[in-house]
Amino acid sequence: MKMLVRTLDMEYETVSAFAAQAGFKTPSGDLIRRDTRGHLSSGLFPVWVLGGVAVVLLLLTTTGCGKTAAASYRLNMVESAKQRLKPEQEQQVATILAALFGTPDEPIAPSECGLDAAKLHLAAGPVRSDIVGRKNGLYREHCAHCHGVTGDGMGPTAAFLNPYPRDYRPGVFKFKSTERADKPTHADLVMVLRNGLAGSSMPSFALLSDAKIDALSEYVKYLSIRGEVELALMRAFFELDDEDQGRLPEDREFLIEEIVLPVAEAWQAAEDALIDVPEMAADIDMAASIAKGKELFYGNKANCVKCHGVTGLGDGQVNDYDDWNKVVLQAHKTVQGGLEQAGEASTWDMDADEADEHRAELAWLDRFQKVLDGNALPPRTIRPRNLRQGIYRGGMRPLDLYYRIHAGINGAPMPAAKGTVPPEDIWHIVNYIRSLPYDFNGTLGVDKPMVARDRL
């Protein structure tokens, strides 16, 4: 040790001597220097006191010293801008919603909605534990980062995904066992959670317990009902008379009767409104069915090739949008069109009232543009499914494909074949589609790879 200390002294000596010769101070300057006995020490404080202070400061910066704010629901800003709501009207909507549906940490559901409060309690709020071994806050743990705390499909990770996560607020769901315009059943939501949506970023939550999946499905329904009520409230301002003075009636009974009940009833009706699926004959001649299905696929009744392409690769039509993106796209077009029109007018030859209106219009367009920039994701086209891959978002069972063809996909351009194509024919199309991933000029299943590392 003596040898090493000595060497250090010599190094220090050398550095400072060099520095003195070169004409500038060493970096440590006067803070660390040698004392009268020639040993290193610091000028002001012992080095280890400084070190201790540094450690304490580091700890403070990492742990912080305050609580984060409680989560709150975000208003549907795009709809609010569309309806030209004033700030006090927005505030009224927020107040009504808070009274009816509570907050993200403390959800309430009017009993008319038929939602299970215990399941909501399990799913809502921050991740915490009321009972040993049981975790609450499931939605925030598993779903909120994509679907958002409000269920608006605009969580922090949403912008990176294609397709975007589902926005529950319009109450439209794609993959279900009910007719196109109906709501999904509870079992449909559970199925999506359990299996995920193959080919999208929605993962499978099969490893969660049944109780947790149940609670999350219930919470999704709650967010959807809340979102639909919010839209209805915002649209209701248009129906007001002058004497209402721009305020909605706040009578709870009235609101529940007129606005919440229709929404809740649609959800409850879905439970009994499953599509009636006829049996596929057990002794069906598969080859003939596939041939018939191919005819129908290329035929005019079902007209599948228009979107899915003549080779089934999903390249027939690539410029369409799903309903959620259409809303934002339409809003962009409205703003663009409005700005062009307003830009052509000049206030020079307008009278006072016209000029005020013109300015108000410009202000509204500006506000709308800001809302679209900050509160909406850039619209993305939707591609028809590539049927040669064998990956189907709503499930790969023959039953799932039957549902998709019969009812179409709600919210997407996929039309319902119900009415145009008879049920047995739909089964033929289903069989043809299921054969497509294996339909190639070659020998099925025999693997003769050229590359050594492919051989197994």
């Binding site: 040790m1 003596k2 040898m3 000595r6 280890w48 193959a198 069972r397 054969s435 197994l456």
Partner: protein, 277 residues
Amino acid sequence: MKRFAAVFWSLLFLSVPVLGVATFIVGPAYDIWLPRDVSEHGAAVDGLFYFILALTGVVFIATEMVLFWFIWKYDESKSNGPGRYVHGSHTLEVVWTIIPAAVLLFLAIYQMNTWADVKMRRPNMTPTVEVVGRQFEWRLRYPGRDGMLGTPDDLHLVNDLHLPIDEDILIQLKSMDVLHSFFLPNVRIKQDAVPGMKIPVWFKAREEGVFDIVCAELCGWGHYKMKGRVTFEPREAFERWLERKYAEQEATQPRDSEMAMASGVVSHPTQIAKNQP
């Protein structure tokens, strides 16, 4: 004051080996140790780990003790006069290079057989299952009755891997998008899933149980929750489960799923494979 500083720092440095050894001793009591091993080759892998742990542990404690001793004994309050400058000892340097080199060489040769068992001696069989890593799930594909992957009777599942015990298992590992790593802690298996490559992974499980599949290569924001579940069960239970899952996959009626779950009987085999040329 100087003596106090020396005592403080030397005890601080002493706490490193003391706490280090203490955590290794106390850890297993809190279930913080190697995960339970149910594989055939796991014992060899763990043996290597313990050997290296013992070797490095001894060296670690020895060097830390020497460090503590030097700080404790040779401090300013006790030093008397300037230190001697020494040019070092050539013999010492040669010795403390040769000995670690010999140890490393020994380790390299000692572990070769275990490495070959796990990574090079592939069993001659068709894959039991194909595992495809995808952000952020494990997609599984079982070959189905015809025993071939890539045919219409394949069973497609996500995250829920079942395998028979006491049999050689061969997994074909792929990735659909980015690097993942297929990690089965309880079977001592870890293999990166490289996009564009088909990598064989094999092992044999000796005991039943339900264990984790974890992703061991950072693959995006969902990497931390890219978990799956592997269930080892006897061959009959495994086959029954396969039948049940296949029946669910081929369901043509809503009640098929419930029926299939109850009885495990396939109700509508779709027979696409039979009718293809």
